[in-house]
Amino acid sequence: MKKLAVALLALLAVFALGAQKLYVSTWGFNLDLLDKNISKPFLEKYGIQIERELGNNSVRLSKLISQKDNPVIDVVHFADYFAMLAVKNGLLQPIDVTKLSNYQDIYDFAKDPVGGNYGVGYTVYSLGIVYRTDKIKRPITSWKDFWSKDVAGHISLPDITTTQGPVLMMHLNKIFADNAYDPELKAAFQKVAELKKNIVTFYKTSSELINLFKMGEVWMAPVTRFSWGQFLETGLPLAWVVPEEGMLGFTNVVSIVKGAKNLDAAYKYIDFIISYEVQLAEAMDLVDSPVNVKVKVPPEIAEKLTYGEDHIKSLVFYNIGFIVDNYDKWINKWNEMIAQ
């Protein structure tokens, strides 16, 4: 019995010490595909085991804040806005991009989306307009089409509390007042207030929006490209529009936590996930759209991704830091306008 216990302990020790570990905080989506495309090849190549901590942006940011003095996490995946919040809270360390061999292969917009090299963009998605071609007969071409009479009562916009909401408001301010960086977003708020009665609801998640399309409530809405595949699966006659004022571009970034204990492994991980092989595998499985310019995918995959020269060219990026500085004010203003 004693011998067995010793043997078991020895085995445990081998498991515990055998593979170096890297602690990665990320979303809980597509986990089996992440294992296939990232964890397994990463373990084979470097002998480093990836341990994931899962949750949405705000929960994971909260955890980082509470572990600030003694971080458990080495690498963290965030939407660009939350990465910016993490920087403001002093939770991240700048990345020495010269250590990343694949860095020169990614799009310029992905190289430093947060500023100060606090994060590297590893995937991109667009926000365009989707509409029902059987209900709206004329072609939709502009963000301004949300204000036309023939779609009134059948449209939805993202709530300001979504990642896309505040950026869309900046874009609308740009369209209607030629200035995206108005701290009051006066024009955008005024125009959305005009539209309020014509809006079914302000959606909070893409699954909620898909449901609204399926129920016939909504005919036209701004849609994130990563959910476009699910929209196509509804079987509804839908079209994706690249508006003349451009689509909005968003990146998800990967960052290194300040005080990370496995720094070397963290650099290897970041370099690995922006590499050609991983970016291609993730794109082919429709997990994430590539930022590595070398990745080429067939048309049937491309139509479900944020991909292709024209698509990428039409993307408009705004400075996320501007949102962080004004967000509280905008949410209050929004609540006052919508919920009164």
Partner: protein, 278 residues
């Protein structure tokens, strides 16, 4: 002494996982490192017009749902109790409990199919030519009201049936034989003797309503902001935990206050009953 020993496990659990955290939250909501003990944050909350709107909307909605649940639930509970056949009565009870076994998220989402523009109600009214174009039912206060009522009505009925079951069967008979009218029977016998069930049911329904998140979020959306959805916004989007804590405390204190008031009312009722019938 022995009966208190039996309480220890439950008490230990409640102290560790309820009393201590609640107290900690309360302290956090009234203590500021720079200023010491202040009620500033509560004042800040009520100073905003929007917060007041949201607070009174939540309070009013929860009270209304509780009241309507009581008005619908009482006759239903009486009907269930009056069924003579045991098997039929237990079948009815199962049917009452049944909605509680389905997931509240699923129940809320099914309202989307009923209240939608192409949903059951609109289609029916359109085909009967009562309407000529669909009306907006979703994302209104009415939708939230209906959703909450359906969600919590069973709790009210269950509390009332158990109260009615405990009512001694010979008391109403005696009152009848002494010539009490149906109205008197109800106000003098049934109401006071089931007051405990009414208070319990009302507290359960009210607390459920004011803390419900999924129903106002799904059926009300951004337009019908309630305390729980505002709390979520503060905690999860702007990471303003201080304000989220204040909102949580306001919800908690309001629930305690309503429970206290309804209990006070019912004791007054029972005392009056004892006086008039004693």
């Amino acid at each position: 002494m022995k009966k208190y020993v039996l309480l220890i496990p439950c008490l230990a659990f409640l102290i560790a996982f309820f009393i201590v955290p609640i107290f900690g939250m309360f302290v956090e909501s009234i203590y500021q490192r720079e200023k010491g003990w202040v009620a500033q944050r509560y004042l800040d909350f009520f100073k905003q017009r929007l917060s007041r709107t949201v607070y009174f909307r939540s309070l009013w909605m929860s009270l209304l749902v509780t009241l309507v649940a009581l008005l619908i639930g009482y006759p239903a509970a009486m009907a269930v109790i009056s069924v003579k056949s045991d098997s039929l009565r237990s079948l009815l009870m199962t049917l009452l409990v049944f909605p509680l076994m389905t997931n509240p998220v699923a129940r809320t989402f099914s309202w989307l199919a009923v209240l939608g523009r192409e949903g059951l109600i609109n289609n029916l009214l359109l085909s009967l030519k009562i309407l000529d174009s669909p009306v907006r039912l979703l994302y209104t206060r009415g939708a939230v009201f209906v959703g909450l009522l359906q969600l919590f009505l069973p709790l009210m009925i269950i509390s009332l049936t158990s109260a009615l079951e405990n009512l001694p069967k010979d008391v109403p008979l005696a009152a009848r034989s002494l010539g009490a009218s149906s109205f008197k029977l109800f106000t003098k016998i049934y109401l006071p003797l089931t007051s405990e069930g009414i208070v319990t049911g009302s507290t359960l329904v009210f607390t459920g309503c004011i803390t419900a998140y999924v129903t106002p979020a799904v059926l009300g959306g951004s337009r019908v902001l309630m305390l729980s959805t505002l709390l979520y916004q503060k905690a999860s989007v702007t990471l303003d935990w201080t304000m989220a804590t204040v909102i949580a405390m306001i919800m908690f204190l309001s629930t305690i206050a309503v429970n206290f008031l309804s209990r006070a009312f019912s004791t007054v009722g029972v005392r009056r009953w004892r006086k008039t019938s004693g």
